[in-house]
Amino acid sequence: MFEIFHYDFMVRAFTAGFAIAIIAPLVGIFLVTRRYSFMADTLAHVSLAGVAAAFLLGLQPVLTALALSITTALTVEKLRSSGKVLGEAGLAIFLSGGLALASVLISASHGINLNLSSVLFGSIATVTTTDLWLILSLGLVVVLTISLIYRQLFAISLDEELAIVSGLPVRRLNQILVVLTAVIVSLSMRIVGILLVGALMVIPVMAAMQFKKSFLKTMIISVIISIFSVISGLFLAYYLGWASGGTITLISILIFFFASILSLRR
């Protein structure tokens, strides 16, 4: 069964997948509780434009996607906090805008070999050594940041207005949260693909929330669910030749259903 680890690209895929499985729900839980889940999908579509631009201009795709999605994340957050554009409506503009820009860039770059389906749905064979180092180092930054400001982020998840009155720098915390989201989206697109990045940040968290535990336990359970989905998904994807992102997402949705049924029966 473990002969797949004889291939370097599989070792890279599993290492990267494991790292992403840990960080995605770690940030995702704050998006879900703040009803901001759509943010991940929006940034994913913008990342697609980043990848297309990188192919057209010959830049590093993950870094280009990262730069574009961080810029977008901060712009969206600024618009949201100023109350000028409604939260979801604002996100919709950026989501369609990102996809539109990506499609124009891809069509303009005909002849350039961009494997669209692997970017959209994830492909385990495409994780390069550079990608892996990016994922591991930025992943570590994400984990450290979350552990440093965990309490503050929990406070704004519970109630933003109360957090403001308690003297927390809510605007700054929101900015950090959206930047972390942008980082995870850009890092995970190789494994789960752009269309399904949001799923990995949101579904394991929703499954874990069914157990009605403390915030900390919910976070830990969601990481376990996420790791299980990613690892089992990668195995299935390899042996059955399925797209890794789709397989991982379907497994996490199955877990969500089982968790909901369990919580209903209690």
Partner: protein, 248 residues
């Protein structure tokens, strides 16, 4: 700042506020002393919520000023001086998984386990510290959020319509908790309410707000003048009772 040897907890001076060309607050001035227990009453649209938002620093002042322990509301809240319990906390379903202990701890920026324990013991929520807030009744949830507000050792506690959606027994417990906090911890408390009768029994003084400060009075005067205050605030007693009921 001192008057008769007592410190001023809150000083509001010539405060006016307009919203979209409508006058919400019109030249309001008052002082609340440390350890005072104050009821803020008035009709909907009379500016109670706006005054709260200005005092908690959620809204910036336009004209006039507010000082909390001599500090602007923004500075006071950064020092954890303001404990705030909003109305909607009891009514809305909180979408965030959390235990009672986690909610109370989130009220304090720096972890101080002793202060958090004390807040839980004082409000009598310690016994269900590991329960999920989703499973609590309205009255229990309210106590938890008072504990959360107390966790930062605030110098003032502000509560907005705290008894809406809470049953009679829980309301009774709630008022006795506030009385304890006020008497034993010398906590300055401002409670916003429609329920003048319930509040009048509890507080030291009442601020009646309808865009302007209609009256400020001490407890003793209230018993004699409550009919007049109501008239000044709402037009007539009947109107007030009506008003009260559609909020239940």
């Amino acid at each position: 700042m001192q008057i008769n040897g007592k410190n001023i907890a809150i000083k509001v001076e010539a405060l006016s506020f307009n919203y979209q060309n409508n006058v919400v607050l019109d030249n309001i001035s008052f002082e609340i002393m440390e350890g005072e227990y104050v009821g803020l009453i008035g009709p909907n649209g009379g500016g109670k919520t706006t005054l709260l938002k200005l005092m908690t620093g959620l809204t910036s002042t336009q004209k006039g000023k507010i000082l909390i322990n001599g500090l602007s509301p923004e500075k006071a809240r950064r020092k954890g001086k303001i404990g705030y319990v909003p109305q909607r906390i009891v009514q809305t379903n909180i979408q965030c998984p959390a235990t009672v202990e986690e909610v109370v701890t989130s009220g304090r920026i720096s972890t101080d386990l002793k202060a958090i324990e004390t807040a839980m013991l004082d409000t009598d929520v310690e016994k269900f510290r590991h329960r999920s807030i989703e499973d609590l009744s309205g009255g229990e949830k309210q106590r938890v959020f008072i504990a959360r507000a107390m966790a930062s050792d605030p110098s003032i506690l502000i509560l907005d319509e705290p008894t809406t959606g809470v049953d009679i027994q829980a309301t009774k417990n709630f008022y006795s908790l506030l009385k304890d906090l006020n008497q034993w911890h010398k906590m300055t408390i401002i409670i916003v309410s429609h329920d003048i009768e319930a509040v009048a029994k509890e507080v030291d003084s009442i601020l009646c707000l309808n865009k302007q400060l209609v009256s400020t009075c001490k407890h003793e005067d209230m018993k004699h003048n409550s009919a007049e205050i109501l008239k000044a605030l709402y037009g007539s007693d009947k109107n007030f009772i009506h008003h009260h009921h559609h909020n239940v």
